[in-house]
Symmetry: C2
Subunit: 297 residues, 2 copies
């Protein structure tokens, strides 16, 4: 489950409700394409913006419509007690794995994050992926802390936020972390622009935002990397460079991917929770052109 | 209400419930001391960690026990629709004012923050304080954006995160913001170590964490500054420098103030929501000594 391509779909919503029909459509699009796992309620799935009840419902729908594809459910929250409840809900919904980011409001210490992961790891019965995303959590993991957490029960993967652009530096970065964690814990790259470099540097999995909307495009890149054809994977990533640049202009991928889903009529417009707004204006037009010209699917 | 000393108490809690009796004790301590306003459910009141129902209950208790002291209620949340509900609850509880920080998970744009404040400002019927706290929200206001928000209906104050240490630079910083906002909007300093400098630089109010636990100590400093005796205010702040240094060592004031309340038996131990932990070890012993030696009260 924590290898290959893990696709993170949107949770389409408006100010009144979650668009369950559109969400089912997104899940089925991923299983049809044949991704290796689905990460529902990731950052792209706006987990942080939903209530416990809404998250339990989304987890249930994702598992019900994913068929044989394993579903990983994001269980992050500010309070440890809320995370424990969310883990319980996700497991009852049939999640194959869980994903936990150390969300913060007050800046967290290493000791607090370790205790938080320990409380959760010891309470669950399915594998957990440690979600390292300083752009949203504002917590910076040291590799030493990753090593300590990776020794806890049920830890199965670490989702790192990216790798250096230079292939040798990327390899050194992955090897440094690899040396500090047990061999059964996989390392996954996120930050889609880093996928080809990360996979060729030794990452076992790509935790992918674009795969949540364009699974075939992301699978082509992943399968090339998995078969050792790293030059082709890099070419496929290079083809998408205008998309990566657009992510950079809009505080990350979410608002672009939401605009893409809206443009393709896979979701209603708008599909993000306010105050978040999908990309508008010139870049929206540019995105429509990119989807067509690059045959993103 | 948005002038003088505004005291921000803890919301004491454990993993099961809010300690309402202890919270009432903290509120009564503030009214007895004679603070100018009470800021319940600020960052120190752990607003971000509580459910809508818990926050409505805390707001109600604060207003009921504050007597004639105006109560400002924090209404921040990630979603605009949740903030609107929280504003409604706070107003129904009898809040005299509201406090709104642009909490974020996904990094916010200026346009998103402006639309967020506009939706809230136009929906409320009591004055709102704009809460600028990049340390917790990770949103950085430009003075120009402050100016735009300050023109919205019901905006009455801006809580800034601190001022430069140099008195002339502090004055210039406050004057720069003052020039961009209507005269009816007050400017308040927070970051307790900056209080004396901020008040002498022209801030109208001190939004104070230590006042939530040591209201008499904070009032002495505030009244000195208000009467134009800035040298005395600076001396009183200088006396507290070991406390400011301790805040610096523990990611801010919250974990120290929680330890102080625990040491004084004003709350049960622990009183913070996990994963947050009050200060332990040597600094906890040092804090006990400081409280005694400096007669903090």
């Amino acid at each position: 489950m924590f290898s290959g391509l893990s696709a993170f779909p949107l949770t389409p919503m408006n100010e009144t409700r979650i668009d369950e029909a559109a969400f089912v459509g997104l899940i089925e699009r991923l299983t049809t394409a044949g991704v290796d796992s689905i990460g529902a309620l990731g950052s792209t799935g706006s987990y942080a913006y939903l209530t416990r009840e809404e998250r339990a419902r989304v987890a249930k729908i994702a598992v019900e419509h994913a068929g044989n594809t394993p579903v990983i459910i994001g269980i992050g929250a500010l309070r440890t007690k809320d995370v424990l409840n969310l883990a319980d809900d996700a497991q009852k919904a049939g999640a194959s794995g869980l994903l936990l980011a150390p969300m913060s409001y007050q800046k967290l210490s290493d000791a607090e994050v370790l205790a938080h992961f320990k409380a959760v790891a010891e309470a669950i019965s399915v594998p957990l992926c440690v979600y390292d995303n300083p752009g949203t959590t504002h917590f910076h993991f040291s590799d030493e802390l990753h090593g300590q957490i990776a020794e806890l029960p049920n830890i199965a993967s670490i989702k790192i936020p990216g790798v250096p652009n230079d292939p040798q530096e990327a390899k050194a970065r992955v090897e440094r972390l690899r040396a500090l964690i047990p061999s059964h814990v996989s390392i996954g790259v996120s930050g889609d622009a880093f996928s080809a470099t990360g996979l060729s540097a030794g990452c076992d999995v790509w935790y992918s935002v674009i795969a949540g909307l364009f699974p075939n495009t992301a699978l082509e890149l992943t399968r090339a990397a998995q078969s050792g054809n790293h030059a082709q994977a890099q070419q496929l990533s290079h083809r998408l460079q205008d998309l990566w640049a657009m992510f950079g202009r809009h505080n990350g991928s979410l608002r672009c991917i939401a605009a893409g889903a809206e443009l393709l009529n896979l979701v209603d417009t708008p599909c993000l929770p306010l105050p978040l707004m999908s990309v508008q204006g010139e870049d929206r037009t540019r995105l429509a052109t990119l989807i067509e010209q690059l045959h993103l699917s």
